[in-house]
């Protein structure tokens, strides 16, 4: 129970899921060792605050542990499921954070958020891949995934028709997929 060192064993995903559902704490440790840093990075990207991101990560892991019975491997990869929980937790925190400062000048917040993003990007050292994305693609991914805006909110903010939001989302992911495919060669 005390041993929180990295386990050296390798688990294939199906095995890992079975062990998680059987409430094997070692499986959860394995999960943490392999996915926590990525989840933490995503939480930082969403919340732009280390403390909040750490809270989100903790809460996400508790939810993962408590809800692992609901994970259905036919609906997608375990990693996707983990990220969804993490993202939902982080977005909820983001909304709470935003509500707290609602009374304040929205413009200031937006400015501060932009600055945070730039700092964060430097800190993280975002790879070339992100830079290769067109700003149009980057914006849509940022707004949808990291800021959790709805399609209609995005349409309103960007001043484009609702249908175009879907098209842009599609273009963004298609472009991203192509980049990744090129990367592998």
């Amino acid at each position: 129970m005390q041993d929180l060192k990295k386990e050296k064993t390798f688990w294939i995903e199906s095995e890992l899921v079975i062990q998680l559902k059987a409430k094997n704490e070692k499986a959860l440790k394995y999960l943490y060792d392999h996915y926590a840093s990525c989840m933490y990075g995503v939480a930082l990207q969403i919340l732009k605050n280390e403390e909040l991101a750490q809270d989100a990560l903790q809460e996400a892991f508790v939810k993962i542990w408590q809800n692992v019975q609901n994970y259905d491997s036919t609906k997608g990869r375990l990693f996707t499921w983990l990220l969804n929980i993490l993202r939902n937790t982080a977005i909820d925190k983001l909304r709470a954070k935003e509500a707290k400062y609602k009374a304040e000048n929205l413009k200031n917040i937006a400015k501060k958020a932009d600055n945070d993003t730039i700092k964060q990007s430097e800190f993280i050292g975002i790879r070339e891949l992100t830079e290769k994305l067109k700003s149009e693609h980057r914006v849509i991914i940022e707004m949808m995934y990291f800021e959790g805006y709805s399609q209609s909110e995005i349409a309103e903010k960007l001043g484009i028709p609702l249908g175009t939001v879907k098209t842009r989302a599609k273009n963004a992911l298609d472009f991203l997929r192509n980049l990744l495919e090129e990367d592998t060669f």
């Binding site: 959860l28 408590q66 991914i141 709805s150 399609q151 992911l173 991203l176």
Partner: protein
Amino acid sequence: MKVQKFIESGILSVYVLGAATEEEKQEVERMAALYPEVRQELESLQNAMNEYLAQYEVPVPAHLKQKVFEKIRNTENVELNLESEHSSDSRIVPFPSIQKWKYGLAASLILLVFSALLNVQLYQNLKETERELSVVQAQNVESQKKITLLQTQYQTTEQKLSLLQNPDYQITYLQGLQEVAPQSYATVFWNEKENKAFIFTNSLPQPPQGKQYQLWALTDDNIIWDAGVFDWGKFSPVKCFKKPQKFIITLEKQGGVPKAEGKAYAVGSVKS
């Protein structure tokens, strides 16, 4: 085509980017379950997004792991709500609830009954096995006896065969006398060179208790030599020092006599 149009609409990307409405989510999941092309495209986009997100990887501060697992244990044990303020208090030592204790007791009793039944079953199996083993052991002893007997018989046969094959041995057949042992016979193997002799008979009647057959050799000078007693049914060595004319078997008292007293049972002339 409907499926192609669905894929082209961008709804899958919106889903992957977490911006799908509740109806859209259900629609995507329904279509993915129905059409392999949809599912495949969804997975492909999802994988691309996962790979992209993996690039945001940031090392987690080391102390966080301990915190995360403490929190999980606390929520597990005390069954605290996620939002509870106490959930991060690591000093709480949870006392198992009565409910859990009841389940535990029930489970223990079930296990105990199951274990007892299993023991009875195993004990019966053991008894059965022991019984079978004793039977097999008895059979084994019997088989061993048979083997010993067969080995003796085999050795006897071997010896006889070797004597038959040895040209130095002269073979004399003794015929059972009409009055006492008709149709009986005995065989004497005599090796003049080595002064060795053997007798074998089991066709003479088995001697009664306290009695033994004795072999006599009658030489040309009409002297009767004591060739010794022998065991019925066994291939037995006898004594023969001079070339005999005749062999005679008499039934004498156990251990033999110096001069023949009993009835003659078989007589055979040695070929010259």
